[in-house]
Amino acid sequence: MKTRAFLLLGTVAVVCLLLLTLQMRGHVAGASDALAIVTTPVQSMLSRVNRSTVGLWSTYRDWKNVRAENRRLREETQQLRVEALRVTETVEENRRLRRLLALRESMPLATLSGEIIAREWGGWVRSLTVNRGRADRVARLTAVIGPDGLIGRVVDVRPGASIVQVLTDPTSTVGAHAVRTRTQGIVEGEPRGTLRFKYMARDGSGIQVGDLVVTSGAGGVFPRGIPVGRVRAIDDRGSALFHYAQLTPAVDFARIDEVLLIVGEGNHDLASLFAPPMP
């Protein structure tokens, strides 16, 4: 057994050395060619298998990369959307504040700007909480306005905040008149969140839909000329003493975020400060 093994090793060694010697003398090119006949097809086959496997693997990796990139892009899109919303919000806020600032600068009365920090929007009470209070020397019944018109009056002053009764509050009443006809009346809030203008029938025969109603200044709470709303519909009660006009508020109470509190005193007509609201 051992002899056979050594004999085999010897033969192998002799064959190899012979091959090497012959190669050095340039005689065994044919042997290489003969071996290539065996090796080349197998190599081609294995190469194809290898390429297919590598191709499959590459496809899988590409797919994984695409998935990862897709996820990354989705997140990026989401972030950009949030960013865009933030920018839009900032632009909108900037626009609002500019309008408020313009109004404040043109006001002949001292004002205090405030930010709305809470809203009470139930049917019983309609109020806003402004971040200005006793510390800012805000007084009860201070008029609160926005760039579009009247918002309401302060009904409760707290150390750091004030409660503003909105015009649409059912207990709110404001002395007002129609600009075109000079018809005097009272604007009242209604439980359903609307406004109505109550006027004497004999004075208001000429009131029309679209007429602007502003504060009259009567009572001394609100300065004269602040837009309250526009006539949307007229409720003609025939021979009754009072007639009513439904008003669309000049201010969108649900969307207002910044206000001005009129803390100065004086008898001024502010009508010229407000751009006429769209009918």
Binding site: A5, L8, L17, L20, A36, V38, T39, L46
Partner: protein, 162 residues
């Protein structure tokens, strides 16, 4: 016969030259035929090891375009030697497998270098050893150990099933 075909394809340089690059790590590729020859020699003895080494080496020489007979002889020697002494080694231990394959690769490298020198092949010894043989020896050590473990596990599974 089937084993010899397997040696020719996978143990021989054919698969090595084609599939070897896929296993390359930091430009170092393992000597798959050497590992296959060692594993076969350990299982089948010196004669088989010698024959498998010769065939694998010869095909490796042919596939790589080198001098025919160099690796055929070195691998036949390695196959014979490991087949002869393998029974006395505790080759199931990874502590033997890894350094054993490293040593065998180094020996094969030295033998190949000596043979090439004998036939006036201009090869710088230091650089060959540092950049080719030694890294390949380390790679072979770990890859061979992993293969041995895989074969042991496959054997155990087969026995368990049968």
């Amino acid at each position: 016969m089937r084993t010899f075909i397997a040696v020719a394809i996978f143990g021989g340089g054919i698969a090595h030259a084609t599939l070897g690059p896929a296993l390359r790590i930091a430009d170092v590729a393992p000597d798959i035929p050497l590992i296959v020859v060692v594993l076969l020699a350990l299982r089948r003895g010196p004669e088989f090891g010698c024959g498998a080494g010769f065939l694998a080496g010869l095909l490796q020489d042919a596939a790589s375009g080198g001098m025919l007979g160099v690796q055929a002889l070195t691998k036949a020697l390695i196959g014979f030697a490991i087949g002869a002494v393998g029974g006395r080694l505790r080759v199931s231990q990874p502590l033997v497998q890894v350094p054993g394959l490293v040593l065998l690769t180094l020996l094969e490298g030295l033998a190949r270098f000596a043979l090439l020198k004998l036939f006036h092949f201009p090869a710088p010894f230091g650089e060959l050893m540092t950049y080719v043989v030694l890294p390949q020896a380390l790679y072979n050590g770990f890859l061979g150990a992993a293969l041995v473990l895989a074969l042991t596990w496959a054997d155990a599974t087969r026995e368990h099933v049968s």
